[in-house]
C-alpha cells in the first residue's frame, strides 16, 4: 500500500512534466491506463504503446499493462517488442491464457523457427504444469503444507499416548514429504522465472563466434526470436538457442525479458 502510494506520488510528479510535453493530463497509473486503452480502441496504437510504456517507467508492473502493451506493438507490426512484453507479463502471471495465446500468435509470425529441445515426457508434464503455475500460488501451496507440518509437529510434542504419538509421527512424515515437494516446486518455478532470456529487437542480427565484429558470422536471427542469455561481456551477450546453436550478439540488439 505504501509502495503504491509512493508510485502515485511519483507518477503525479512526473505526470506534470510529461503532461506538459505530450499533452497528457492523466496523473495516476490508472488514469494513464484508461487513456492508453482509449487510444488503443481508436486504433492509435503508437500513442497507446507510449502511454503504457510511461506507466512501466514509473516502476509499476501490472501484467495487464504489459499485456496491453504487447497488443499495441503487435498491432503496429512490431513483433519483437510485442513478444518481449507478452513474455514479461507471463513471468508475473504465467496463468494468463490470453497472453499465452497472443504470444503464440506473435511467435508464429516471426521469421525464425527454432525447434525446441526434446524433453522426456514426465519432465515435460511437470515443467508444463509449473510453467503455467503462478509463483505466488506455488508459494501459498508451500505455506499450506508447511503449516500443516508445523501443526502436526506441535501436536506431537504435546501428545502423551504412544498411539497418538505414533499416528502423529506418520502424519508428520507425510506432510514433510509434501513440504519438500512444494518447496521444490517453488524453487523450480522461481528459477524458471529468473531464467535469463532475451528477445531479438532488430530485423536481423548476425550471431558471431566471439564478442567482436571481426568474428565469424555463425548464423543469423531475426526480430522476435527468443534467445537464452548465457553471459555478457563488453556490450555483447553470449546467447544460445534450444537447438544448441550459440554465439555472441550485440547487447543493443536484444532486450532481456
Amino acid at each position: 500500500m505504501i509502495r503504491r502510494l509512493g508510485i502515485c506520488v511519483l507518477v503525479a510528479a512526473c505526470g506534470l512534466r510529461f503532461g506538459a510535453e505530450q499533452g497528457l493530463h492523466a496523473s495516476t497509473p490508472d488514469e494513464l491506463f484508461a487513456k492508453a486503452n482509449g487510444a488503443y480502441v481508436e486504433n492509435r496504437f503508437e500513442e497507446a504503446a507510449g502511454t503504457y510504456e510511461t506507466i512501466l517507467k514509473y516502476g509499476l508492473k501490472d501484467p495487464r499493462v504489459l499485456y496491453n502493451l504487447g497488443n499495441a506493438y503487435f498491432k503496429m507490426g512490431r513483433l519483437g517488442p510485442a513478444i518481449l512484453n507478452y513474455e514479461r507479463g507471463l513471468r508475473i502471471d504465467p496463468a494468463d491464457a490470453e497472453a499465452r495465446d497472443n504470444l503464440e500468435l506473435a511467435r508464429g509470425r516471426i521469421r525464425d523457427r527454432v525447434p525446441e529441445a526434446e524433453i522426456p515426457f514426465p519432465i515435460a508434464v511437470v515443467q508444463g504444469m509449473l510453467r503455467i503455475a503462478p509463483p505466488d500460488r506455488v508459494a501459498v501451496l508451500f505455506l499450506l503444507t508447511y503449516f500443516i507440518a508445523a501443526v502436526l509437529g506441535g501436536a506431537l510434542v504435546l501428545a502423551r499416548s504412544e498411539f497418538r504419538r505414533r499416528a502423529l509421527g506418520y502424519a508428520l512424515l507425510a506432510s514433510a514429504v509434501l513440504v519438500v515437494l512444494s518447496a521444490s516446486g517453488l524453487t523450480i518455478t522461481v528459477r524458471m522465472n529468473l531464467e535469463p532470456f532475451g528477445i531479438v529487437m532488430q530485423d536481423r542480427v548476425d550471431v558471431r563466434s566471439g564478442p567482436a565484429e571481426d568474428n565469424t558470422v555463425l548464423f543469423t536471427v531475426h526480430e522476435g526470436t527468443r534467445l537464452q542469455l548465457r553471459g555478457r561481456r563488453e556490450g555483447w551477450y553470449q546467447v544460445s538457442l534450444p537447438n544448441a546453436l550459440s554465439g555472441w550478439i550485440p547487447a543493443s540488439s536484444v532486450e532481456p525479458v
Partner: protein
C-alpha cells in the same frame, strides 16, 4: 566337246574391245573437282567448299559423300546449283554442291578426297589442305568481303563460329542471299510477373523458300505464352541503312518473368532455305538455285525488378497487370437452405495464373461449397488478357437480411508502379424462413463446424479495480518470510513448554516411565526371541514373563518385583483392560511360570506361539489402557 585353244584366249580381249566405246564417254565426259575458299583461315572462321560435277548429262548424280570430312564441322549446306552451257551445238552442264565448313581445331587440316557417284560410277575429288591459325593470326588475301551493310547495321552479328549473315559463297559466280533474323523486346526492364513481348523478325533481300526452327526455343526464367502469327507470313518493306529489306514476323511470345534479376533469352536458330541470287540468267530463269542458311538471333538480356515491398497490401494476390473485379449473385432473395449462386469474375490485362486463393472468405451464415474455377486467356494487340471465374454455391443457414460481404482483390499495376486494391460492393440477400417456418437449417444439409476465418490477438484488458504493482513476488515479501518463521517459533515454544512441564516430581517420573513401558517390553521380547531354542527355554520364558510383568509395572508405576498375578489382575481391571485380554494375559504368565519352574521338553513351536501371544497382548494393552 573340246574348244579350240586359240579362240579361248581371244574372248576376253574381244569383250574389252566391244565395251570400250560404251564406258569411255562416261569416264571421259565427267569431271569432278572440289574447291575451298579460303585456304588460310583463323580458328572459328568459315571455309566454303564447292564440289562441281560437270559433264554432258547429269541426270544420275548423287551428292558427294562428306562422311570422310573429320577435321571440319559442316554447318551449312549442301546447297546445289546447276548450270547448262551450249557451245557449238554441244551442250554441257555442271552441278555444284556447296558446303559451309568450320574447322574443328588449329593446324593444317585436310578436306579429304570426296567420292561422287555419277551413273553408278564413283569419281573422286582431290584432297585440299586448309591452314587454320589461332584467331587473328592469319588474314586470307582471298577471303570474301564482309557482309558490309548487314554487319554494319549491327542487328545480326554472327554468333561465334556461326554462319556470317550475308556471307557469300566462294567460288560461285552468284552471290548468296542477304538474310538475317533478329529479336526485339518491348521493354528492357520489367517487374516480375509483368508481360514482356518478344518478336522475332526475318529480314531478307531474297526469296524465302522454306524455313524452320533448328531447335525449339527455350525461355528460362519465363512463363511463355504463344502469340499466333499468320501461317502465310506477312511481309513488310523496311529500309535498313541504304538497303531495302522484306521483313517477316516469324514468332511472337508473351513472356512473364518468374524470377528476378538479369535474365537472358537465349538465341533462337532458324534454318532458312532461300533462293540464291544467280548471275547466270539461264540458271535464274529455268531453275531455282537454292541455298540453306542458318541464322540465329542475338541473346537478349532483360532486367526483372522485384515488386516493391512498401505499401504491399495484406493478402496481395501476386497478380501483375491491370484487372477489374465483378461479383454477382443470381438472386437477391432466397430461403434458408435454398442455394444461391455467386460468381466472382476477375479479368484484365496480365497473367492470372498465380492467383489461386479463393477470393470469397468463409461466411458464417452461409454454407459454402468448393467453387468451380474456370480460367481463360486471349491475346489482344499482342497483350495477354486473362479471366478467372469462381462459381460459388452458397446455402443460407439463417433467415434475415444477409450480406455477401465486399470482396477485395489486390494486384500490382506496372503502369502506375503501384499496388491497387479493388473492392466489390456488398450484395444484400434477403433470406426468408424455409417452408417449415422454423428458420433453422436442417442438420443433415447445412450444419457445419464453426471455423475461425482469421486470427488476431485477444483484446486488451481493463483494470476496473485499479492497477496492482506485482513487481515483487509474494515469495520475496516480508510477509512470506514471517509466515515461514512463525510455525518454527511456535513449535519451538511448544517444545520448551513441554520440557518445562516435565518436572522432576513423582508425576513426571511416572509419566516418563509410562511412556517407556512399551519400548522396554519390546526390548525384553527381542531378548526372548534371541533365546528361542529348546536349549534356552528357561531363559526364554523368563524374558517373556519379565516383559509382561515389567510392562504392567511401568504402566502403573509400581515395582515389578512385588507383582503377583492377583495384583496384576487388579491393576489391569483398574486400567480398563477387557476381561478377555486380562484372561489372555493371565494365561500367558501362567504358561511362562509353568515352563520355567516345571521344565518339560519344550518345543520351539510352542515357544514361538508364546512369544507371538505376548506381543499381541502388549499391542492390545497399549490400545486399551487409558484409551
Amino acid at each position: 566337246m573340246r574348244r579350240p585353244r586359240g579362240l579361248t584366249g581371244l574372248l576376253p580381249a574381244l569383250a574389252l574391245i566391244l565395251a570400250a566405246p560404251v564406258a569411255a564417254p562416261f569416264a571421259q565426259g565427267i569431271t569432278v573437282r572440289a574447291q575451298a575458299q579460303p585456304t588460310r583461315v583463323n580458328d572459328g572462321d568459315e571455309v566454303h567448299l564447292a564440289v562441281e560435277i560437270s559433264g554432258e548429262s547429269l541426270d544420275q548424280v548423287a551428292p558427294p559423300d562428306t562422311s570422310q570430312i573429320e577435321d571440319f564441322q559442316i554447318i551449312g549446306g549442301p546447297s546445289t546449283s546447276t548450270r547448262f552451257q551450249w557451245v557449238n551445238g554441244r551442250t554441257s552442264s555442271s552441278r555444284t554442291y556447296s558446303y559451309v565448313l568450320r574447322p574443328r581445331h588449329v593446324g593444317t587440316l585436310t578436306i579429304p578426297s570426296l567420292g561422287v557417284l555419277v551413273r553408278g560410277q564413283t569419281f573422286r575429288t582431290r584432297a585440299i589442305e586448309i591452314e587454320v591459325a589461332q584467331g587473328g593470326g592469319l588474314r586470307s588475301p582471298v577471303a570474301p568481303p564482309p557482309a558490309g551493310s548487314l554487319q554494319g547495321g549491327g542487328q545480326v552479328p554472327a554468333p561465334p563460329g556461326g554462319p556470317r549473315p550475308g556471307s557469300r559463297r566462294p567460288g560461285s559466280p552468284a552471290a548468296s542471299a542477304e538474310v538475317r533474323v533478329r529479336s526485339e523486346i518491348d521493354a528492357p526492364a520489367v517487374y516480375v510477373g509483368q508481360q514482356l513481348t518478344l518478336r522475332v523478325f526475318l529480314d531478307t533481300q531474297t526469296q524465302i523458300l522454306n524455313l524452320g526452327l533448328q531447335d525449339p526455343p527455350t525461355f528460362p526464367g519465363f512463363w511463355a505464352e504463344e502469340i499466333k502469327v499468320p501461317e502465310n507470313l506477312e511481309v513488310k518493306r523496311v529500309q535498313i541503312g541504304n538497303d531495302a529489306f522484306n521483313e517477316y514476323t516469324l514468332m511472337k511470345r508473351a513472356l512473364f518473368p518468374t524470377s528476378t534479376g538479369l535474365l537472358t533469352i537465349p538465341p533462337i536458330t532458324y534454318q532458312i532455305q532461300v533462293r540464291r541470287l544467280s548471275q547466270d540468267p539461264i540458271e535464274s530463269f529455268f531453275f531455282t538455285p537454292t541455298e540453306t542458311v542458318v541464322r540465329r538471333t542475338e541473346p537478349v538480356s532483360i532486367t526483372v525488378l522485384l515488386l516493391p515491398s512498401a505499401a504491399k497490401p495484406a493478402g496481395f494476390s501476386g497478380a501483375v497487370g491491370s484487372f477489374n473485379l465483378s461479383v454477382t449473385a443470381d438472386r437477391s432473395s432466397s430461403q434458408v437452405n435454398d442455394a444461391i449462386g455467386v460468381k466472382v469474375r476477375i479479368g484484365g490485362e496480365g497473367n492470372l495464373n498465380s492467383v489461386s486463393a479463393s477470393p470469397l472468405p468463409e461466411l458464417s451464415d452461409f454454407k459454402q461449397y468448393a467453387p468451380k474455377v474456370a480460367s481463360s486467356s486471349t491475346i489482344q494487340n499482342d497483350r495477354l488478357r486473362s479471366e478467372k471465374v469462381w462459381d460459388y454455391v452458397l446455402i443460407p443457414l439463417a433467415p434475415g437480411a444477409q450480406t455477401v460481404p465486399p470482396i477485395a482483390f489486390s494486384f500490382f499495376d506496372p503502369r502506375t508502379k503501384a499496388y491497387r486494391v479493388i473492392t466489390s460492393p456488398p450484395i444484400p440477400i434477403q433470406v426468408a424462413r424455409g417452408p417449415d417456418r422454423s428458420g433453422i437449417a436442417t442438420p443433415a444439409m447445412s450444419q457445419s463446424d464453426v471455423r475461425q476465418v482469421r486470427q488476431d490477438v485477444h483484446y486488451i484488458k481493463l483494470a476496473p479495480h485499479g492497477l496492482v504493482d506485482r513487481s515483487r513476488p509474494f515469495h520475496r515479501s516480508s510477509l512470506f518470510a514471517f509466515l515461514v518463521m512463525m510455525p518454527v517459533l511456535v513449535d519451538v515454544g511448544l517444545l520448551v513448554y513441554a520440557r518445562a512441564q516435565r518436572d522432576p516430581t513423582h508425576a513426571g517420573r511416572r509419566l516418563r516411565r509410562e511412556r517407556r513401558a512399551r519400548s522396554r517390553a519390546r526390548r525384553r521380547l527381542k531378548e526372548a526371541r534371541r533365546r528361542l531354542s529348546p536349549a534356552t527355554s528357561r531363559a526364554f520364558y523368563a524374558a517373556v514373563a519379565q516383559a509382561l510383568t515389567e510392562y504392567v509395572a511401568d504402566k502403573f508405576d509400581t515395582a515389578a518385583a512385588g507383582l503377583t498375578h492377583q495384583r496384576i489382575e487388579e491393576l489391569l481391571a483398574g486400567g480398563g483392560a477387557a476381561d478377555a485380554l486380562r484372561a489372555d494375559f493371565h494365561r500367558a504368565l501362567e504358561a511362562c511360570d509353568y515352563a520355567r519352574f516345571a521344565p518339560t521338553s519344550s518345543i520351539e513351536e510352542e515357544m514361538r506361539r508364546t512369544l507371538q501371544s505376548a506381543e499381541r497382548i502388549l499391542v492390545a494393552l497399549e490400545r486399551s489402557l487409558y484409551g
